[in-house]
């Protein structure tokens, strides 16, 4: 089944028009020595057979319809309203491509313009692009943008160790062998770390451990932003977009670039992708931004319309001098995020964030009361929290799995000093009953 509509007589007529006898005559430029290799692939299947097989493969997974999940760490189990799936299921959206021809792409263009507007509202920033591949690549590109804003003169990127480990790993991959240095933010924070070689400081809020950082101007993020700006550097903040339903947006505490994983906004977990990278910045850096931007304009009759704009930054115009190589991004995931934000709206997103907050704190209190388990850290947190466990998290998760629960993230994977520490996540989808079941199970597995 190749989804090819040609009949034999169609093919004959087409070959005649071309003036060749056989299709093979069209491939004479391909060196004969390598032409027509054998492809050893499984025999073709009908639709009925492939669906049966895929259903069976998918059932080899333990999925979240059958297990209660307390795992987060950068990919989150949030409720997706039905309307979102129906919007992205419109094939006028999903079978189009990048809206190069605006007159027949107003649907995608306007929807992404709305997405950009809502991301600006959420983050408190001036400009948001049409998306990156995910939170990690957004962060890497933000760091490169900060270097570029200094015209390449500042070569140091300072990163907080509480930024997602895989984001930091991606940043390292993106800056190989160049003379850019990536260094860890040192605690206690001293402003002398930021000097005239510093391009940016990257922090995450809530951080990888779920903690909300203080935003005040003394010891909090506003003060930190001032110190960074004093040194002529930029502040890059990694966010969880759901937390911004409730908490102060980075635009209000001095962020210059805001990035984050957009998956929680209406995109299923999907085993890690496709997700979308949020990317927003202050207006003064707009022309240094990577990625696609949609702008408003008018048509020849004065009607409002939308186009891809400021493309002089981009690879198809600027080639090796572009701000990034990005071309195809995650438009459909951004469409989902836009539909999610519009569906949730002003009160809904706040309610989701509140549900996460209250349920996570309830769970944390109950777990902290179990002998052997301790809550770590005294900062307020959002939907994730750090627990010191009496046994290795691997063993605990094994036991939880037998009770139909997917447990937390083993922090010893990334932070050797946090061996036997687990990062648990509670969202609006976790019921009190599920949380109580988790607590009960942890009581049983404690030695």
């Amino acid at each position: 089944m190749s989804y090819v509509p040609h009949t034999d007589s169609d093919r004959t007529a087409m070959l005649a028009e071309i003036g060749v006898k056989a299709v093979g005559d069209l491939f004479l430029d391909v060196p004969e020595s390598v032409r027509y290799p054998e492809l050893r692939l499984p025999a073709p299947l009908s639709e009925m057979e492939i669906l049966r097989e895929l259903r069976s493969i998918s059932e080899q997974n333990a999925d979240l319809d059958h297990y209660a999940c307390f795992l987060g760490a950068g990919a989150y189990n949030h409720f997706v309203p039905s309307v979102v799936g129906h919007v992205v299921g419109r094939s006028e959206f999903y079978t189009a491509y990048t809206p190069y021809q605006p007159e027949i792409s107003q649907g995608t263009l306007q929807a992404i313009f709305e997405y950009q507007s809502m991301v600006c509202a959420l983050t408190g920033m001036d400009v948001a692009n049409a998306s990156h591949y995910d939170g990690a690549t957004s962060l890497a590109e933000a760091a490169l943008m900060a270097v570029s804003i200094s015209r390449g003169k500042r070569r140091k990127i300072i990163v907080s160790p509480t930024v997602h480990p895989e984001y930091r790993a991606t940043l390292r991959t993106y800056t190989p062998g160049s003379d850019l240095t990536i260094s860890n933010l040192q605690y206690p924070i001293s402003n002398t770390q930021f000097d005239d070689d510093t391009a940016c400081l990257i922090i995450q809020n809530p951080n990888f451990f779920g903690q909300l950082l203080s935003t005040d101007s003394e010891n909090g993020l506003s003060g930190l932003a001032d110190a960074v700006h004093e040194a002529g550097a930029l502040l890059v903040v990694v966010v969880d977009p759901i937390s911004l339903g409730l908490f102060t947006p980075p635009g209000e505490y001095g962020a210059d670039i805001v990035v984050g994983e957009g998956q929680p906004l209406g995109n299923p977990l999907n085993f890690g992708g496709p997700y979308l990278g949020i990317f927003a910045c202050r207006e003064e850096y707009m022309r240094k931004m990577p990625g696609r931007l949609i702008g408003e304009t008018v048509d020849t009759q004065g009607r409002r319309g939308f186009v891809l704009t400021l493309s002089a930054r981009e690879q198809h115009i600027r080639r090796e001098r572009a701000t990034s190589n990005i071309c195809t991004n995650q438009a459909l995931c951004a469409l989902a995020a836009g539909a999610y934000l519009a569906a949730m709206g002003k009160s809904g997103l706040r309610k989701v964030a509140e549900l996460c907050y209250h349920k996570a704190h309830y769970a944390a209190r109950q777990i902290a009361a179990i002998p052997g388990f301790n809550l770590v850290g005294d900062r307020p947190f959002f939907k994730e929290f750090l627990v010191r466990c009496p046994r290795p998290p691997g063993e605990i998760n094994e036991a939880l799995l037998e009770r139909g629960i997917i447990g937390g993230y083993d922090l010893g994977r990334d932070y050797p000093q946090l061996e036997n520490h687990m990062l648990l996540c509670v969202t609006e989808v976790n019921t009190k009953q599920e949380i109580d079941r988790l607590v009960e199970a942890l009581q049983e597995v404690a030695p």
Partner: protein
Amino acid sequence: MTEPLVFEISSPGRKAVFLPELDVPETELPQELLRDDLPLPEVSEVDLVRHYVHLSQMNHAVDTGFYPLGSCTMKYNPKVNEEAARLPGFTRTHPYQDHRTVQGNLRLMYELQEFLKEIGGFAAVSLQPAAGAHGEFTGILMMRAYHQERGDTRRTKVLIPDSAHGTNPASSAMSGYQVVEIKSDQRGNVDLEELRAHCDDTVVGLMLTNPNTLGLFEEQMLEVAELIHGCGGLMYGDGANVNALLGIAKPGDLGFDVLHYNLHKTFSTPHGGGGPGSGPVGASERLAKYLPGPIVVKEVKEQGSRRAVEQGGNDNPCYRLQMPQASIGRVKAFYGNFGVFIKAYTYIRMLGAIGLKQVSEDAVLAANYLLAKLRKVYPLPYDRTCMHEFVLSGPLPQAPDVHTVDIAKRLMDYGFHPPTVYFPLIVPEALMIEPTETESKETLDAFVEAMLKIAEEAQENPDLLHQAPHTTPVTRLDEVRAARQPVLRWKPG
């Protein structure tokens, strides 16, 4: 026809989603950290649905009509792909679950890696890169790692033909390399003499698209690869045009050391309005160990998955995630665009080797058929048998005032998406046409008819073209104004 912005249909107090009541005791909120206002829209569900349905109706898409956008492979996207990717056993899994609880996902990824290896003629594949350009960047980083490990640090030049996609030079520059442009010869191939002149011990490698963006197969492909390898460089393949090669030639056999596939192009996953795509990278034996990861490996003698064990099969293979031995690291979080993998897997399983070869044969047949018909009226800069696409030059001798942009816009009035225009840069006023294998002869004929009619109109009534399109939701948009006075977001008031 215009549609109000979602903000403009908002009214205080409206809701589209009703959430459950809190079922646990409240905890005090940290007042000093709360935001004041959240200026998101407030709409009802029905208004929201109508809004997006109206917007969708303003899009041209493969499902609404012919989309011959060159180098983008806008083929039909089978519905079964969508069905498969929405199975909750896939969508409702978390990337950090224990590997034993996601054996289905890992098996699918492993098998897709194997299929792509076989189709491309490579030793290993990483599925992690999220799009073609991401795959290019990955490939360049792997080439760098290869040279670095050999202590070969003098290499700083990436050679790129002048017909290449803009992402090629941009990806090289992101890796800190100097880009050297190589001219094309009169037959649209890489100019071998010029290439030879640049081949020395400072060459990182060559980035080559084959078939190239003129839709032509590089006639001296094997010589090109030999020259590059001869000076110690590596061959990067831009897989944007692999739709012409399935079962016809394996890129690995053509001399490529590393290549990215575009699952959204070749393997029908669809394009999503500009993503998500997926850009897996295949590598030859000597580059395989540098692939980004983790990738999926298969172990035969280990405990099977939980459910597999329950089902009594203890000698089932076990799939695990593993970093390649000298990996460049990860190029994104997690493992790649998994939802896209399911669609590509479905497609490959349904077509098999026979079906894939049929795809390329019919894609090339359709392109040559269109070429044979259109060359009678539109100038053809490179007169050769094309592969899956071809490039015409827009200005018609009989209508010098009419430009490619006018032809493109007028095509919309006939219900067609225009070809890729003004690219490749080496053809003046280029029209790059890729019909794909899934369009019927009737559709191709209707397109030809429209193109020929437009050529007549260009002569008889050029203003009709200058003012086109006439039938679309909006007419030509002021792109200069959009760039000079950027309005990139809605603001209240």
